[in-house]
């Protein structure tokens, strides 16, 4: 008999968010596919009863909990203490958790603490000949590996967006609270807040259907020999407002800001896609004024349908990286797109 622990933190209201439900889907399927495996749930947060009730029918035999104000915020020392206590109390040899910023920070350290190993950014879990096989990407999404591991406890962090979310009936779960007393050194850090752009200025929208990528071409000299940065800024801003797309950028475009050139004011490194940027998940992506070089397009690994607008018919997108390449002036095309979208909005 072995134990598989599903480990997660709750949202501020005590419920579970989408990444947590996806990891639960993966954990429950894995437990069902492995011989003689019991699923337990381990929940961390200020309050966790709503979460336990939400997933009461997931098949977990026990719901262990570390709760209290000490465990509300995402802080390495307290999260690590809670996670280590839950893993040890459950006796789990396999642990499945969502790959959120909070758990990606803490669980690799916890693995070291409990004498096991952690693997992150897993995109699939399966059972082959009674063994767990994990899938992940190497060299920034350039190649995919499938592997298994002998060390236990094995902590598996599932990439958000890669799994179907668990769904099932809520119920009344019985919590088993674990007392975790934090040493003083675990309180050296306090979380003081969150910095985020005002709601209407937030251009990173993980739930958007469309990723809109702006490349450095928006700031380059155009056919008339001039740059048109204010116009580029207006076109992109209008498109984001009308389409609710998420904004990505090439590295060259965000780097211009650091080099003191005129640059689109609402872009930051957080928008950067690629080798040294993000690898977001959206069903569709539209690249504009971007050359589609490999260090950029590795960040498109999880964008299913891809289109691009570039003046250069020989850019990277033309070479099998996009489904459709429009060889055209993005200023003129986006102006028309915005006009059509605005017309629809006014109907």
């Amino acid at each position: 008999m072995q134990t598989l622990l599903y480990l997660t933190a709750t949202e501020t209201d005590g419920s579970l968010g989408q990444p947590a439900l996806e990891a639960l889907g993966a954990a429950a399927s894995l437990a069902a596919a492995l011989p003689e495996t019991t699923l337990l749930a381990g929940l961390v947060g200020a309050q966790v009863q709503p979460a336990a009730n939400q997933i009461a029918s997931c098949g977990a035999k026990r719901f262990l909990a570390v709760t209290g104000t000490d465990f509300a915020a995402s802080r390495y020392a307290s999260d690590a203490a809670a996670a280590a206590a839950l893993i040890q109390a459950s006796g789990a040899m396999l642990v499945v958790a969502p790959g959120t910023a909070r758990w990606l920070r803490c669980l690799p350290g916890v693995a070291a603490r409990v004498g096991g190993r952690a693997d992150t950014h897993l995109t699939a879990l399966e059972v082959v000949n009674g063994q767990v096989h994990a899938h992940r990407w190497y060299y920034r999404q350039r190649m995919e590996g499938v592997f298994t591991r002998a060390q236990r406890p094995w902590l598996l962090l599932v990439d958000p967006g890669s799994q179907p979310a668990w769904s099932g009936l809520p119920g009344q779960a019985v919590l088993e609270p674990l007392a975790v007393t934090l040493p003083d050194h675990a309180r050296r850090t306090t979380v003081t807040g969150i910095r985020e752009p005002a709601a209407d200025a937030q251009t990173i929208r993980p739930d958007a259907k469309l990723l809109f990528v702006a490349g450095a071409g928006w700031t380059k000299k155009q056919a008339d020999g001039q740059t048109h940065v204010p116009e580029a800024e207006r076109l992109i801003r209008d498109f984001l407002r009308l389409s609710r797309a998420s904004l990505g950028s090439s590295k060259s475009l965000v780097d211009l800001g650091g080099e003191g050139q005129a640059v689109l004011s609402f872009l930051s490194h957080l928008n950067q896609i690629g080798q040294t940027g993000a690898t977001p998940r959206h069903p569709k992506g539209l690249a504009t004024c971007c050359h589609g070089e490999e260090p950029h397009t590795v960040g498109w690994r999880f964008i299913n349908e891809r289109r691009a607008i570039s003046l250069d018919p020989n850019c990277g997108w033309a070479r099998g990286k996009a489904d459709v390449l429009y060889v055209a002036d993005a200023f003129r095309v986006m102006d028309r797109v915005n006009a059509l979208l605005a017309g629809e909005a006014n109907v």
């Binding site: 995402s74 693995a111 992150t120 190497y138 002998a150 050296r188 289109r307 060889v327 095309v333 028309r336």
Partner: protein, 267 residues
């Protein structure tokens, strides 16, 4: 307050190169791995520049770069990195590829850090990139923290500010383009950097000359370490089916393209 800033940073293949997996004697590897031109791992590079920036602001601070990689490649990468910012260097000679286990890398790094002369936890900040561009795991630094007994870890850091009372204000990337703001009482702490806010420094031959005095002796002293992935068995490593059948649309008017795009957004 002066800090001892230790930056963990190694090398990665040039991202413009084509990478192809092959089966090596001890598991997967890259085709012609030793022939590929190498770069400083980009996020570790940001950590190094941020370390140098902090050291300039806090007189008496020292920056030590600890690198674990194949010796010959490290030497090549140091030729440019040494010209960027001043640092002392400790090299470990071992594998740095994507299929190694970060727990093994972290054990070697932690051992090298604890052996640094005059190490003082009350001044110690351990920096590195939040993920490597090889494994992309984001596991090494937390493991180093656990091995060194450092209770505070931050990952995806874009900003570090020393507050008037000596506390550290740290901004970490979290979901949906936001930053978590934390206040840490002070060192010791481990910080895995994302991009930060500094541009890559220009090459400075004077800094290069000063650094190079330490680089060659450090290379000579580089201790061999065995880094692999004990316990891990790869079933496969494959390149994605990369190429799409691109349809290139050349002579359509902006209106036609706009209409086609809108239909696509809605499909």
């Amino acid at each position: 307050m002066p800090y001892q800033i230790v930056v963990c940073g190694s090398l990665v293949p040039d991202p413009l190169q084509t990478l192809e997996p092959v089966q090596g004697p001890a598991g997967p590897a890259l085709k012609n791995e030793m022939m590929l031109p190498a770069w400083l791992d980009p996020w570790a590079g940001h950590a190094l520049y941020e370390a140098a920036h902090l050291a300039r602001q806090q007189p008496g601070s020292q920056v030590t770069l600890v690198s674990l990689g194949p010796k010959a490649k490290l030497q090549q990468v140091m030729m440019t990195v040494a010209q960027k910012v001043p640092f002392a260097w400790v090299a470990l000679d071992g594998a740095a590829g994507g299929f190694t286990d970060p727990a093994e890398t972290a054990a070697a790094l932690a051992e090298a850090i604890s052996a640094l002369p005059g190490l003082n936890p009350a001044q110690l900040l351990v920096f590195g990139g939040w993920e490597s561009a090889t494994r992309g795991a984001g596991v090494t630094l937390q493991t180093v923290a656990e091995r060194l007994g450092i209770p505070d870890v931050f990952l995806g850091v874009d900003e570090l500010k020393v507050l008037p009372d000596g506390a550290l204000e740290v901004l970490e990337r979290i979901e949906a383009g936001r930053h978590l703001i934390s206040r840490c009482a002070g060192p010791p702490a481990v910080l895995g950097w994302a991009t930060g806010n500094l541009p890559e420094p220009k090459n400075n031959p004077q800094i290069g000359m000063a650094n190079m005095r330490g680089v060659l002796p450090a290379l000579q002293k580089a201790r061999p370490v065995q880094i692999g992935a004990a316990g891990v068995t790869f079933a496969s490593v494959t390149l994605p089916k990369q190429l799409r059948q691109t349809r290139t649309v050349k002579d359509a008017s902006p209106d036609q393209i706009a209409a086609e795009l809108i239909a696509w957004f809605k499909s």
